[in-house]
Symmetry: C2
Subunit: 559 residues, 2 copies
Amino acid sequence: MVAICHTILVSKNNDHLDHLMRRGWTRAGEDQADTAILPAHATRWLAARTGLPFRSTPVAPESALVVPESALPPAAYDALCAVLGQQHVHTGRAERLGRAGGLSYLDLLRHRGIGAPPVPDAVLTPADHDAVQRVLEVCATHGVGVVPFGGGTSVVGGVAALRGDKAAVVVLDLCRLNELVSVDPISRLAVFQAGVVAPAAERLLAEHGMTLGHVPQSFERATIGGFAATRSSGQASAGYGRFDDMVEGVRVATPRGEWRLGVAPASAAGPDLRQLVVGSEGAFGVITEVTVRVREAPTVRRYEGFVLDGWDAGVLAVRELAQRRVLADVTRLSDPHETDMAFSLSGGRKTALVRKYLRLRGVLEPCLMILGWEATSAEELALRRRTTLRALRGLRPLSLGRPAGESWRHGRFAGPRQRDALLDKGVCVETLETAAYWKNLGELRTAVRGALVGSLSAPGRTPIVACHISHAYETGASLYFTVLVPRADDDPEGQWRQAKAAACEAIGPLGTVTHHHAVGVDHVPYLPREIGQLGVDVLASVKRTLDPAGVLNPGKLLP
Amino acid sequence: MVAICHTILVSKNNDHLDHLMRRGWTRAGEDQADTAILPAHATRWLAARTGLPFRSTPVAPESALVVPESALPPAAYDALCAVLGQQHVHTGRAERLGRAGGLSYLDLLRHRGIGAPPVPDAVLTPADHDAVQRVLEVCATHGVGVVPFGGGTSVVGGVAALRGDKAAVVVLDLCRLNELVSVDPISRLAVFQAGVVAPAAERLLAEHGMTLGHVPQSFERATIGGFAATRSSGQASAGYGRFDDMVEGVRVATPRGEWRLGVAPASAAGPDLRQLVVGSEGAFGVITEVTVRVREAPTVRRYEGFVLDGWDAGVLAVRELAQRRVLADVTRLSDPHETDMAFSLSGGRKTALVRKYLRLRGVLEPCLMILGWEATSAEELALRRRTTLRALRGLRPLSLGRPAGESWRHGRFAGPRQRDALLDKGVCVETLETAAYWKNLGELRTAVRGALVGSLSAPGRTPIVACHISHAYETGASLYFTVLVPRADDDPEGQWRQAKAAACEAIGPLGTVTHHHAVGVDHVPYLPREIGQLGVDVLASVKRTLDPAGVLNPGKLLP
């Protein structure tokens, strides 16, 4: 691992790599029990609320994990070395373990000694598109599976090094494809290499006065290529668009050669094949460059908190904003459970005052709504804010002011770190998400919540199931669920697998099995339900065309 | 023909069918020389400007057209009759001639005796999805090509009844699939059968206080299914979105069975296959139902005309609006040639006054810009209008006020009728369109204009090549060219074919070969350039999967 990181850190300043020493979010060396991440009062509240016993389950020492020897055939190894140079074909135990899976709860358990991490037979670090292209040709020739790897933040098994029917599998780490290739300020376009991590992308664009505005919770580590491959959405997608809206062009390395798409913002020259590559999760090819639409960087921001009384009132407010097309750039609505959890985990005197204020105002089921605007002038921001708030007039949201909004913004990327700390405390903590048309949204929330609570409740274990809307459209919205429950130590994997399956079954007739987490491995069983057997056949035919040897990301996307 | 129309007109009020008696736009019985469509001063101006001689080339009498006997094998005929009933399997000469091709210049020439119209062997009028499904099964079994047919307004050969490698070809007219299936006012969704023509769709939605807002120039006759199959754009797409933005779901009949897509406004469950069906031009299946996003019907409208001096200034204005995301719902910019043509064809004292005013203001190269806003309240309209105009402040457009805007709106669907009248006068009149990123837009216009002028100029024939932007995006815009030139009677087809080829070659490195007219037959040669050979292979594999016998719309979309 050190060998990889050292070279690249020095030459490319790829500071996300050090995270991969451990398949969790917390930086190596950070204090796991950081009270800023999970203060004592929060742990106490969790214990009282869920029945959590006090214990600690730290990371298993690396030496305790089972890491099989690399099964990469010598001929394939030699061919890869010939293409990349030996220093970019990593077969050491540490390097391979560092690229073993993503960041789902089950992935994190595996790196804590529960279950076996999906360890690749080698990790490759190609320098550019041509090197990726040659790697694919070698792998196709030698029948070696290839898992494209960006930030490694998949929570659905999307980067698990599965062999499928192949004898060996390698991880293709795109960390060296980390350049801003070009910027076209007239057309507001930027071409990024796929391995650029989001913060670096923003830094590079800032030099041109531009921004992408794509801020998923995985922002700190996820890559441009990963966003495209998984149809990512960001916390400010209401303002800046989903990532699929931003993709204007792609350069893809496939076992059959290079494929470039994107000549104009819109076209009627047949189906939009860019939208076939976006969301293809490395199963059709490796996205090596992405042309994205960028915007002028905002100079002013304003985030505010509001409270609506009850889920239905909150949903009505968000729907009103979406259908009047006056959504704030960030528009989020927490259900009463999530609002309660947020207040309880925050704690403190201010929160107590807010709770008291809400009681005095007769609010029975507070639902926290965060609205955030970003603009290039105070005048524009004020105008847009006024337009949003005017649309809400009749619904009378209670304002909690800017502190509540800024508090959310400040902690917006803290979730994954909190998760690491919670895991250490013995909490089963995971998220899942879906989306539906407005008409089905209430029923969907009830059904999924019911499935999760039903599956996870046990003597001494009371789950918390919190939910929010983070992405709203004219015709519907996403629902994002967070689950916390004491871990079932007799079958920790089964505990979550069963709950996840119950939730996916509940989503069934009402919405999509994933709004922005992608298919990966976890959602494969539900794909036929969603796109039909003909849809699956279509995807399979596309895969056969581009990847005849079937080496690309085995076991992902397609059944 | 009468047989078809009578039944349907009575039972379904499908008043678009009577147009099909003649493959032109003008209603049967309308005066071809209608001076409201093409006034005498306009003809005089054209003659002076282009060298047009005075002559008339009316529609050839039906009896003069060569219509081969139906080659539909008797077994196929019997099977189709068994599925649809004999009264919905039309093999008469008039019915078949009425569905022979679309409305391109070459199509119109063919119906005037120049070249042979692509006449199908039968016209089928199924009642619903299931009937379409059964027709496809029969055609696959008997190896008969099937051309889905909505409004028949394709200008790229998209509905030409070509046989490909089949012994016979039938046109599948969707005119009986003309119902609004359902409306969901909560989610703002409407499900339409594919054969609903746009004005009927708007009438049906108006009963629910809703609108689609999709107004291409083919509005009066084009269908919901056709919009989806061709990735249509409307004149108000800046406000209401392109049709591909509106499609939330599709129901498709394929030779391998029914295919339904669309469970949520957005999803990360793999590639967005809706965007593979949208733009598939009947080559993968027959779209029988479309779920569209609808909006509250506007109650106030305001259209205004402005003038900018010079193309570059005009483009800058439109780009500014697009990149600040304050486009009017209708935003159009004519180049100096189109502006001059519009003024000259309008004629009259008012136009003369406008010209004088522009001269007095020192405007050397007037470019007409139309901005139109539509809203559900005067307050909203005023706010949005102010926002748009504020963004233009620095560019100082000259206002021509509401009359210029309303005049454009009033005549917005007149183009096709004028074309019929111009054809009668011996004018070669056609349009083509493209789109590009802003950076390439100037070069693209120059290149295409140069190619068209170069190809069409001849002794005694001076072409008019006019251009406008009708669709603007943050990253680029479309260009729409209108060509008028005296017809070359020695080779009228060759005259246009060569010009079109020259234009398509010129587009090559700079933009897309079609922004909203689709591929049809005409753009097939340019598809590999645009989406790569791998892209063509991908589309071919999808077609093989859904249409193994290759009966769907032979010769369209794919090489």
